[in-house]
């Protein structure tokens, strides 16, 4: 088990390194020039050269990559000596746009994504699996049709639409909730909760569909297995058959998808939700950085998101071993 874990983590580190190299390459292939963006409106060639130098963009690809890599372990200094910006290890660079160390920004934004992603995930997992199970048990009945129908609506509407509608109703019209925005849990737990109710609801509504449908079909498949018939023949109570024998076997594919979803949500993939509700998370940071050709932030957000997806996969594999006795990790 431990050996398996170490092996997986090493592999994860290699994947992250490869992602770093690829992101660096893609950035260099882009036509945009961050120095020109920083320079402003009328930019003379000499001024452009100076800014390129100041941003370190005049060095070769390999040098820049090496500087970045070295910074991860020993930190770096940016800018003129007297007013240099220090970026301590592990240094992911300093944003061209905000002149802030990327890691500081990421860690600053992370609690918002964690709250948004994990909170929504708990709800859509519990509700989705619940609805899916009910739908499977009551196959063809009204409950099944209602659950599947609701799921279909959820998957069909846009986050942008649901989000603005919820905001309009709950904040602007009925004034049941305060204006949108993220309040750190440590500042004001009640405000934190109030600010997250609508974003959670939006994400749950959209993600619910997938989990309901997945659970339903997976459950139906399991119901057809021989051991389920045996369980029923033995006279076990229905609840026990469905939950212990049925759901435990049916949940494996759901865990796989759930792991990936949570990983990417925490890593910042809920960008539209963030934007509608004014939650400044990593997703928004990533989109802005691409628009501004802000390489250090592009790299940072990519690595950050990748780390969570990769880690979530490791966790999923470990959970397999716990849930499904057929899986043995070695």
């Amino acid at each position: 088990m431990l050996r398996y874990l170490i092996r997986r983590l090493l592999a994860a580190a290699v994947i992250l390194l490869v992602i770093t190299v690829i992101t660096f390459f893609i950035f260099y292939a882009l036509p945009s020039d961050p120095a020109l963006l920083a320079c402003g409106k009328t930019c003379s060639p000499s001024r452009l050269t100076e800014i390129k130098h100041s941003l370190g963009l005049d060095q070769s690809f390999m040098t820049q990559f090496w500087e970045f890599f070295k910074g991860l372990f020993v930190g770096r200094d940016f800018g003129d000596q007297s007013v240099a910006i220090h970026c301590s290890a592990p240094c992911l660079g300093v944003s061209f746009q905000t002149d802030t160390p990327v890691l500081t920004t990421l860690l600053d934004d992370f609690p918002a994504d964690l709250s948004l992603g994990l909170g929504a995930a708990v709800f859509f997992l519990v509700l989705g699996v619940g609805l899916g199970t009910v739908a499977a048990v009551r196959r063809g009945k009204a409950a099944d049709k209602a659950a599947v129908g609701l799921a279909l609506v959820g998957v069909s509407v846009q986050i942008y639409f649901v989000g603005l509608l919820l905001l309009f109703l709950f904040v602007d019209k009925w004034q049941l909730l305060p204006a949108a925005g993220y309040t750190p849990f440590t500042d004001d737990p009640a405000g934190w909760l109030q600010g997250l109710i609508l974003p959670w609801a939006t994400l749950v509504f959209v993600y619910l569909a997938l989990y309901t449908r997945l659970t339903r079909s997976s459950m139906l498949e399991v119901f057809a297995e021989d051991y389920m018939r045996t369980a029923r023949a033995k006279g076990l109570p229905v609840g026990r058959i469905v939950l212990k024998h049925g759901l435990r076997a049916a949940i494996t594919p759901i865990i796989t998808i759930f792991g990936m979803d949570v990983g990417s949500l925490i890593g910042g993939s809920a960008v539209i939700t963030e934007s509608v509700f004014g939650i400044n998370g990593i997703g928004k940071l990533a989109v802005d950085s691409v628009q501004n050709s802000d390489l250090p932030v592009i790299l940072g957000t990519t690595l950050f998101a990748a780390t969570f997806v990769v880690l979530a996969n490791v966790v999923v594999d470990l959970v397999y071993g716990l849930v499904d006795p057929r899986v043995r990790l070695a």
């Binding site: 020039d33 920083a38 007297s82 240099a84 910006i85 928004k284």
Partner: protein
């Protein structure tokens, strides 16, 4: 000026814009005149995006420059409490004294203007502030200091311990600038945020954005980029030596990052905190018509005419025949073009490159009297040119608004036998692409906002053909006009010290450019913003095209 954030904001939001809007007149400075300001309370500003910079030497957007007015005092400034903006001394006692044919400008500083720590603002602080502009770390700001100050080309900023000799401070309250050319409106340049003081002891270099040291009525309490800026009262500021600002609210909270449509909806609803909130980014295109036409919002809707122009540049080196260019001027149907941008709320039809409100503007129209174009005249011109049936490439930003605009141009020009191929370019890279002289487009969309309300920051920037060689990566002469007569007139006007004579010269220059049929002016732009019902003292600022907050208060 400052079109980066503006452009991004506009293209991102004018997506679902409705056509044919009819706007009611701007509810400008709704509460500025009548009721007297209330003290106290908190003003909330809801902005879609963070400022480009707040560091006064780096800021170059209308939003950032407008915000800086709360905590950065410039040598001169605009008093906008009257009917028209008036240039006044801000840090300086007056609007400066030119000598040696406008090549030397002297400013005397007010006594007793204090930093937030109570120390006095000195001429040396101003010198240091302006010198910062030259450092490559302090990038993004306007180019004027390095263009005009003697020795500016070789100066690299104060961080290596060097000073710029052409800025002299004979005593604590006097500062003199030596320029390498006559600049008659230099004292309007010095109203831009960069011409302000920075105390060396509190300069944090590239991170000064979040640490700007205040000499205005408010100061930064906290600033997390892309999240929130909180300003509180600067107790060392004194109303008695500030002719421009007031200190009414206790606190200003700026929140960044929400979708513009959500901000529009929130402020429009006027519930809770929205009552005391205002926006600095323009209303989303999809909401503009509804808001502009809602009579219940009239008192808190600000339609601010920008000193700017939305235009179509014709590459004169590619479309060489002036008759073809003139035919294009007559053929473009500006009514469909304006429809693409949002209709009448967006702006009035333009026939000149200078917009009304800019010094030097003269009303004239050399082409079609109807905004819908004059096809008969256009066709006749094409016939005179020998009916060439050319194919032209048109560069626009890749957004719904601009592709609609491109379609309108294509349809118009199709009627005179011009085939238009539309090239949409990623908005983030649009200007760096078309500003690069390597681009191969015949027609290019562009917009421009003056840095100060004078033709000198419009016509020379957009039509001096000599920059094509000098600034190969950031050429603003999108029409590639390099007319010796125009260049000579630019130099001549720049040397004129008499403002009236100078304005006449610029008016004539505008007409000369239109005679060359170098560009098709499309619309004089407006920017529209909305505030909550309890926000008072907002001034429509036609210089920055922003709701000015220097007199803002919240009603209790």
């Amino acid at each position: 000026m400052k079109r980066r954030t503006r452009t991004v904001a506009l293209t991102a939001t004018t997506v679902a814009i409705a056509l044919g809007a009819t706007a009611c007149g701007g509810g400008s400075s709704s509460d500025a005149g009548g009721s007297s300001p209330t003290k106290g309370g908190t003003l909330t500003i809801l902005n879609n995006a963070d400022y480009d910079h707040l560091d006064p030497q780096r800021v170059y957007t209308t939003q950032g420059s407008s915000m800086d007015e709360e905590f950065v005092r410039t040598l001169t400034g605009w008093d906008e409490s009257g009917t028209a903006p008036k240039l006044v001394g801000d840090l300086a006692t007056d609007t400066g004294t030119p000598s040696k044919g406008d090549t030397v400008w002297t400013f005397h500083l007010r006594h007793g203007v204090k930093w937030q720590d109570g120390t006095e603002v000195s001429a040396q602080d101003v010198k240091y502030g302006v010198e910062r502009t030259f450092s490559p770390d302090i990038n993004g700001g306007p180019p004027y200091a390095s263009q005009w100050l003697v020795g500016g080309a070789d100066y690299k900023g104060p961080y290596q311990g060097k000073e710029l000799a052409s800025i002299q401070t004979p005593d604590k309250y006097t500062i003199t600038f030596q320029l390498n050319q006559p600049v008659a409106d230099f004292n309007e340049t010095t109203a831009m945020p960069g011409w302000s003081a920075v105390p060396k002891a509190h300069d944090t270099g590239a991170t000064y954005d979040t640490h700007v040291w205040s000499d205005g009525p408010y100061m930064i309490k906290s600033y997390t980029k892309n999240k929130e800026l909180v300003l509180v009262k600067n107790t060392n500021w004194s109303q008695s030596n500030d002719p421009i600002r007031q200190q009414n609210v206790n606190e200003i909270d700026v929140k960044f990052g929400q979708e513009q449509a959500a901000i529009d909806q929130q402020i429009k609803s006027d519930a809770g905190v929205a009552q005391t909130a205002i926006m600095q980014d323009p209303i989303a295109g999809s909401d503009l018509t509804t808001i502009a036409n809602d009579p219940s919002l009239k008192s808190r809707y600000y339609k601010i005419p920008a000193p700017g122009i939305n235009y179509l540049a014709i590459n004169n080196t590619r479309v060489k025949d002036i008759k073809v260019r003139q035919a294009i001027e007559d053929a473009i149907d500006k009514s469909t073009v304006r429809g693409a941008f949002g209709g009448s709320a967006y702006g009035n039809y333009a026939t000149t490159m200078l917009s009304p409100g800019i010094g030097g503007y003269q009303k004239f129209n050399l082409y079609s009297a109807s905004p819908a174009g004059d096809l008969t005249k256009a066709k006749a011109l094409m016939k005179a040119a020998g009916n060439p049936k050319p194919t032209m490439s048109l560069a626009v930003e890749n957004s719904t608004t601009q592709t609609h605009f491109a379609d309108a141009v294509k349809t118009s020009l199709g009627k005179i036998g011009v085939t238009v191929n539309i090239t949409p370019i990623d908005p983030a890279n649009y200007f760096s692409t078309i500003d690069n002289v390597k681009n191969q487009y015949d027609l290019v969309w562009g917009d421009w906002i003056a840095d100060w309300p004078n033709a000198s920051t419009v016509l020379p920037v957009l039509f001096d053909g000599r920059q094509i060689k000098k600034l190969p990566q950031s050429n603003q002469d999108l029409s590639y006009l390099n007319d010796p007569a125009v260049n000579a007139q630019i130099d001549k006007a720049a040397k004129m010290t008499d403002i009236k004579q100078r304005n006449t010269a610029y008016g004539a220059l505008d007409e000369q450019i239109m005679k060359d049929a170098a560009v098709v002016p499309l619309m004089y732009m407006n920017f529209s913003e909305l505030s909550g019902s309890k926000v008072g003292g907002v001034i429509s600022d036609p210089i920055l095209a922003e709701p000015s907050l220097v007199h803002v208060y919240v009603k209790h």
